[in-house]
């Protein structure tokens, strides 16, 4: 989309066709980031992030893109990482304040609405710029079940069964739609999430990447945690094997 004249200089200006360009540019920042996905299944939510490693000198596991917001909520981000970290603190404050006032875990929809409202506030003024990140929130509660919400830089939040953000979100969404997630368990889903990240990762343009995986569900008793080592190894093996199979079948077709 091209900007017209001076309508894209601040978030406090509409364009003649009713767009706020600064917010759209913020979304571009998200599209340039590597992919993050999250899928909700029968008994939990699984997060997967393609974390591009720009230098061999980086310590392994640094610059995490999956955060813990309170014990029962996980957050995966795409876009400007510093903006995302700042929002994770906002989410933590909201969850903590809710618990202090009401004595129980914050319901995910409410948390998502509150953080979305905060993000939206930054799209109203010329003195600040919008947040250049989208994020996916997931939680599990034994009464309300698994929940998944995504918030984008415009401050909109939606509930999802499966959701992808970042550069390969279209390809990831296509893969996600093939799954029957409502009938799957977290253990089954972890392998599929790993596989999708491997599928959408572009070997040519981006070189090395680390796969960040986490889950929250009945299997973790409602706590959001990184996937344990044996499960992760099994998932990555499944992902790599599936890719090889597809490569083989492509060669056959040729």
């Amino acid at each position: 989309c091209s900007s017209l004249g001076t309508y894209d200089l601040s978030a406090s200006t509409f364009s003649p066709d009713g767009r706020v360009f600064q917010v759209e540019y913020a979304m571009k920042a998200v599209e340039n980031s590597s992919t993050a996905i999250a899928i909700r299944c029968k008994d939990g939510v699984v997060f997967g992030v393609e974390k591009l490693v720009l230098s061999k000198l980086y310590e392994q596991g640094s610059n995490k893109r999956i955060f813990n917001i309170d014990r029962h909520v996980g957050m995966a981000v795409a876009g400007l990482l510093a903006d995302a970290r700042s929002l994770s603190e906002v989410a933590r404050d909201e969850a903590s304040s809710f618990r202090s006032s009401y004595g129980h875990d914050i319901p995910l929809k409410h948390l998502s609405d509150r953080v979305a409202m905060y993000v939206h506030a930054y799209t109203l003024y010329s003195a600040v710029r919008p947040f250049g990140c989208s994020f996916i929130l997931g939680s599990y509660d034994k009464d309300d079940g698994p929940q998944l919400y995504m918030v984008d830089p415009s401050g909109i939040s939606h509930g999802y069964w499966g959701c992808a953000i970042g550069k390969a979100k279209q390809a990831a969404k296509t893969e996600i739609e093939k799954l029957q997630m409502k009938e799957m368990t977290c253990r089954e889903l972890v392998k599929e999430v790993a596989k999708i990240i491997y599928i959408v990762h572009d070997e040519v343009k981006d070189k090395a990447f680390e796969l960040e995986l986490s889950w929250v569900g009945e299997v973790t008793n409602g706590r959001h945690q990184l996937i344990p080592e044996e499960v992760r190894q099994e998932a990555e093996k499944y992902a790599k094997d599936s890719l090889e199979e597809e490569d083989d079948s492509d060669e056959d077709n040729m």
């Binding site: 202090s100 006032s101 009401y102 004595g103 129980h104 319901p107 929809k109 409410h110 009464d143």
Partner: protein
């Protein structure tokens, strides 16, 4: 801020009172006497209802300064109504108790009010809790009673689904218990409650237990009396029972 006097001369109308709440199998009973007195010398009302509804299935008993208790429950009722609209679901009992707790604790210098909260919610069923807010104990963690023989203020909140009762005494502590008693008259029935309360009673047994307890307390405490107000809260709804003074159970010496 001058401290309220510890002796029986409380400025203004006080509910030297007896309040209680008890869980039974499938619900919770919350009840109180109906006497309001000034300085322990004059009965200013014989028919006060100290059982206040703060939400559809959550009730509160007040003890201590009637004005303080009414002001606090009015604020709590508003707060919970707003909260339930925002959450799109009725509040949990623990949330109602926490709201009262914050009000009692943050204003403990000015207030002399304690509450028992009891009710029903879809998560935990029937619950009872106690909370106290006063300037004497000054502690959030201890259940220290004030020096006077009169309870200053108490609120009882009662939730439902496993019946839940929370007590918020004067200092703004919050404790969840299956049965709890409060008010100046409660000192005379600790033995009775300890001996006679059993968990998972039937509705009739629990109502009889509560009526007996109130009658015994009203019989010995000069600042408790009048009628017994009882409210039974279950998953299906709320029922008010009023036992007039002459219909209260009589004991051997009456």
């Amino acid at each position: 801020m001058e401290k309220r006097s510890v002796d029986s001369r409380v400025r203004g109308v006080s509910t030297g009172t007896t309040i209680l709440a008890a869980t039974f199998d499938g619900g919770v009973v919350i009840g109180s006497d109906s006497r309001a007195s000034i300085g322990g010398e004059y009965v200013s009302s014989k028919t006060i209802n100290k059982v206040v509804q703060v939400h559809d299935q959550i009730f509160c008993c007040m003890a201590g300064s009637l004005a303080d208790a009414q002001a606090v429950t009015k604020a709590a009722k508003f707060h919970l109504s707003f909260h339930s609209v925002q959450m799109e679901t009725p509040p949990l009992v623990i949330a109602a108790a926490s709201v009262l707790q914050e009000l009692c604790y943050n204003n403990k210098e000015e207030l002399q009010a304690g509450f028992i909260t009891a009710g029903w919610d879809r998560k935990k069923g029937p619950q009872v809790g106690a909370g106290r807010g006063d300037s004497h104990t000054g502690s959030r963690d201890t259940a220290v009673q004030s020096n006077s023989t009169y309870w200053r203020v108490a609120a009882v909140l009662i939730p439902c689904v496993p019946p839940q009762v929370y007590v918020v005494p004067l200092g703004g502590m919050l404790v969840g218990q299956p049965v709890t008693i409060g008010g100046s008259g409660s000192t005379y029935i600790y033995g009775y409650v300890d001996a006679k309360y059993k968990p998972n009673m039937s509705r009739e047994e629990c109502l009889q237990f509560a009526t007996n307890a109130l009658a015994l307390a009203m019989g010995r405490d000069n600042v408790s009396g009048g009628v017994a107000h009882l409210v039974v809260i279950t998953e299906t709804g709320v029922e008010h029972v009023v036992v007039p003074g002459n219909k209260l159970p009589k004991f051997h010496n009456e």
